[in-house]
């Protein structure tokens, strides 16, 4: 089966999932969730105002009509405005993505490089004391709450040592990257490396158990060559797909950092929206991230097929 028809088929298969996601979100917010009219009415409100707002939002309509409206909104990329700031939701999504990516891309790149590098090293000395100590440190590092890391390290690096600014963000990408992003990035890497390292080590160890490694040895290749060429190339398949499929979660996963470092990213937007019951924003972020996830999954599949000649397009 060709790649094009594979992609078309996969896109087609996304529709029921997307519909399900929309239904889930709709049920959560339009059915379970509270009445938004009161937020919009502000400090002092009266029933007449509430009624007029309800009418304006269309929530006096039947659920079926509301769901249909929601579907239309999703497909036309027009989810109205934030209830708390009146900002266009589409605008929120587009502008908050930049800061998140400014953090996310360096984090992903550096973290993957560091984690894979260390994983190769400890896998190479597997079973040794170094290996065991590194693994132990990883487990301990993973066991400390992210919150503790942020609170302590922001205090330590941002204030006590004064190496980085404590908070801030500008419109300039380079200033952000050079001044405001390093500490959050460092923290994210610090926290993320441990689990990745463990995972990648297990991927590499799995590969080391394969017979082709023995074949390569029997050929007379050096251990370094075997690790860097044969093993890494095979281990790259699960590693790359793992990194790529973690991308959607990572987009909002940095929310604590964004919160503490006042970085106007998607994650912080989401948290603020949750605390303000800003449903349009939560709905939009959720739906579009779901779409993004599906697209990423498709790309991961393609990537997987590209990396692994064994898997065919079916």
């Amino acid at each position: 089966m060709s790649m094009t028809s594979f992609i078309i088929r996969r896109l087609w298969q996304m529709l029921p999932t997307l519909l399900g996601v929309m239904l889930l979100i709709f049920l959560l917010f339009n059915w379970v969730g509270g009445d938004p009219a009161y937020i919009l009415a502000g400090k002092v409100s009266d029933p007449a105002l509430i009624a007029s707002i309800r009418k304006q939002l269309g929530i006096d309509q039947s659920y079926l009509v509301q769901f249909w409206v929601f579907i239309k909104q999703v497909f036309t990329f027009d989810l109205g405005r934030s209830w708390s700031t009146n900002e266009l939701v589409s605008h929120i999504l587009l502008t908050r993505l930049g800061p998140t990516l400014t953090l996310l891309i360096p984090v992903l790149l550096l973290e993957t490089i560091i984690a894979v590098g260390c994983a190769m090293l400890v896998a190479y000395v597997r079973g040794s004391l170094t290996d065991r100590i590194v693994m132990m440190c990883c487990t301990v590092a993973m066991s400390i709450s992210f919150l503790v890391y942020i609170i302590v390290f922001q205090w330590l690096f941002g204030f006590k040592l004064g190496w980085f600014p404590v908070q801030g963000w500008t419109n300039s990408f380079w200033v952000n990257l050079s001044h405001y992003a390093p500490l959050p990035i460092l923290l994210a890497i610090l926290v993320d490396v441990a689990p990745s390292l463990r995972l990648y080590r297990s991927f590499i160890l799995d590969e080391l158990h394969h017979d082709y490694v023995r074949t390569a040895r029997a050929k007379g290749l050096t251990e370094k060559n075997i690790m860097l060429k044969h093993v890494l190339r095979n281990a790259a398949i699960p590693i790359v797909t793992n990194v790529a499929s973690g991308l959607p979660s990572a987009l909002v996963g940095l929310f604590l950092l964004e919160f503490f470092f006042s970085i106007p990213g998607l994650g912080r937007e989401m948290v603020v929206a949750v605390s303000n019951s800003d449903f349009p924003v939560i709905k939009a972020v959720t739906v579009y991230l779901a779409v993004f996830t599906m697209v990423v999954n498709l790309l991961v599949d393609l990537l997987y097929r590209w990396l692994d000649p064994r898997v065919a397009y079916k």
Binding site: V140, S143, I144, S145, L147, L251, A290
Partner: protein, 350 residues
């Protein structure tokens, strides 16, 4: 020995070394695993004792001044409570309201009764190993009580996730077909939404409470166990021993739960202990966001949420107590999980 009368039901008892027992033997040789197991047991005992009210039942009693430093000596809770905010130098005498007060006729009785109530100034004297928090609560008791809630959240949420995931995964993986397709659809919906986003979205619409947290964490994280169990069921339902059971005439239920389930129980156990860790960690984040447990309870998450304003003012006790005990427990569970996974690895039995 050859007497058939000795044949009793004893013969089907698990006297011999079953796989669990073998795993336990392997585990016993692993010093790290045993140390981890001890730590987990200590926490479990602590949690049960706290649940039964044997320890830390007065975690919310004021036993010391606000932010009393750690001390091994007994401290009383008589604080220098003289200053109450910013004084108003122009304050006049209390306004007389007796002319408009519905209670005025009983002023005399009120006064007498008030005088009779001995204003018992509770004077506790406790040694505070970890100091006190802002209300003067003993941080040690608070941490112990907090561990009870945090671990319960972990245990229950993980249990819920594993039960839901296993049931759905077993049904989908075993029967396949339309049933499986429907469950897969369901699974796709849940996994399309990033986990933390899903938690936030669900938390945004539900009211606070212990049960809510357990439900939120449990019902949003069944997916990975579903996936694993489904794959295992697909694999195992093709296995010869299941085929053999079918050939013998064993029913679907018998094959699903009597035959296959014990064979994948190690997967569930390992996944379960991972979930416990995840849930304990997630509870912290939820508490930080104010979506955690109600105020009359305490958890590690609620303690850590308090610490965000304490580190800067140099109060480290709470973050060390809660963050530290959480790190110790989670480390122990993780190490135990690793050891369990290794010990239960079915490959080792061949």
């Amino acid at each position: 020995m050859n007497n058939t009368n000795t044949l009793t039901t004893d013969l089907v008892r698990h006297d011999s070394a079953g796989l669990w027992r073998l795993a336990w033997r392997r585990l016993r040789q692993d010093k790290v695993a045993i140390a981890s197991l001890c730590v987990v047991t200590i926490f479990a005992v602590m949690m049960i004792a706290s649940y039964m009210g044997l320890i830390a039942s007065h975690w919310n009693a004021e036993v010391a001044p606000s932010y009393a430093p750690p001390s091994l000596h007994a401290v009383t809770n008589v604080a220098n409570t003289k200053v109450v905010g910013i004084a108003n130098p122009q304050a006049g005498p209390p306004v007389d309201i007796s002319d408009i007060d519905p209670l005025a006729p009983r002023y005399q009785e009120w006064k007498e009764r008030t005088a009779n109530i001995a204003h018992e100034q509770t004077q506790h004297a406790t040694s505070l190993i970890l100091g006190a928090d802002k209300w003067g609560h003993d941080i040690l008791s608070k941490t112990i009580k907090g561990s009870e809630v945090s671990i319960s959240v972990g245990i229950l949420a993980a249990f819920l996730a594993v039960v839901v995931g296993t049931l759905l995964g077993a049904v989908g993986g075993y029967f396949g077909g339309v049933l499986d397709d429907t469950l897969e659809w369901f699974y796709n919906i849940f996994t399309s939404i990033p986990y933390i986003l899903l938690i936030l979205a669900v938390a945004a619409v539900f009211s606070r409470g212990f049960v809510t947290i357990v439900l939120i964490l449990g019902l949003t994280s069944w997916t990975s166990v579903y996936r694993l169990v489904r794959a295992e069921y697909m694999k195992h339902s093709e296995r010869a021993y299941v085929r053999a059971a079918e050939a013998l005439g064993a029913s679907h239920t018998s094959r699903m739960f009597k035959h296959i389930l014990p064979n994948i129980s190690h997967v569930m156990l390992v996944q379960y202990s991972r979930y416990v860790v995840d849930a304990i960690k997630a509870e912290v984040i939820l508490s930080f966001l104010g979506l955690g447990i109600p105020v009359d309870m305490v958890s590690w998450g609620s303690i850590l949420a308090e610490t965000q304003e304490e580190v800067v003012i140099g109060k480290w006790s709470q973050i060390i107590a809660a963050g530290g005990s959480m790190a110790i427990l989670v480390t122990a569970i993780s190490m135990l999980t690793d050891a369990l996974r290794d010990a239960l690895d079915p490959k080792l039995n061949e």
